[in-house]
């Protein structure tokens, strides 16, 4: 089933990835003091793969979550890096904002085209 304006789908799926990513980062931050908790991240490769295959699925998929590699665990076995996660949070925020603005601009163009 195709919506009438399939142009929006790429942006909407990218937005969905960013919002799932936000969830993962929030989970890492919420568990910053949980002993033995391992930091996780969303599979960006899977997202790219999904986009390259034409991102046809509706609704967008749930991407896999992996343990973040290359982190040093603290004494309590937790390996969440607070500053790195805050950086990820900010970056993800900006990405989401940019995508949202692009989507809004595209809506405006379509609207202008319709109004003639």
């Amino acid at each position: 089933m195709d919506a009438m304006f399939p142009q929006f789908r790429l942006l909407s799926h990218a937005l969905d990835f960013a919002s799932q990513n936000h969830r993962v980062i929030s989970q890492n931050l919420a568990n910053i003091n949980t002993p033995n908790y391992q930091a996780r991240q969303l599979s960006f490769e899977q997202f790219l793969d999904h986009i390259q295959k034409g991102h046809r699925s509706e609704p967008p998929p749930q991407y896999d979550v992996h343990l973040t590699a290359g982190l040093t665990a603290r004494a309590d076995g937790n390996n969440v890096d607070l500053d790195a996660e805050l950086g990820n949070l900010k970056r993800n925020d900006l990405t989401y904002q940019a995508l949202n603005e692009l989507l809004g601009a595209k809506f405006e163009i379509m609207k202008a085209a319709i109004k003639g």
Partner: protein, 109 residues
Amino acid sequence: MNPAITNSAIGPIAGVQGIYSPTSSTTAERLVRPAGGESFGDVVQGYLQQVNADQLRADTAIADFVSGKTDNIQQVVLAMANADLSFQFLMEIRNKIIESFHELMRMQF
């Protein structure tokens, strides 16, 4: 005699196509459905169905959101915006059709 004028309401619109295919036969049936193409009515019909599908999709998204089945605000907003756009498009087309219909009715023969 031009058959388009003697036809009922849909006649004048079908007659527009008649102008572009002057070699077609004089029957109204041929004018409504010229060889090798969708008729104007088919296009509008198909479009109406798409607009309706967009509306239904937005309704489903809203129902899912209200009942807590989905938490994905992006998808709900997008379905809604899509339905909004396609409906505006439909209204714009409807206005143009009515406009041209009036134009034709005002024509002096």
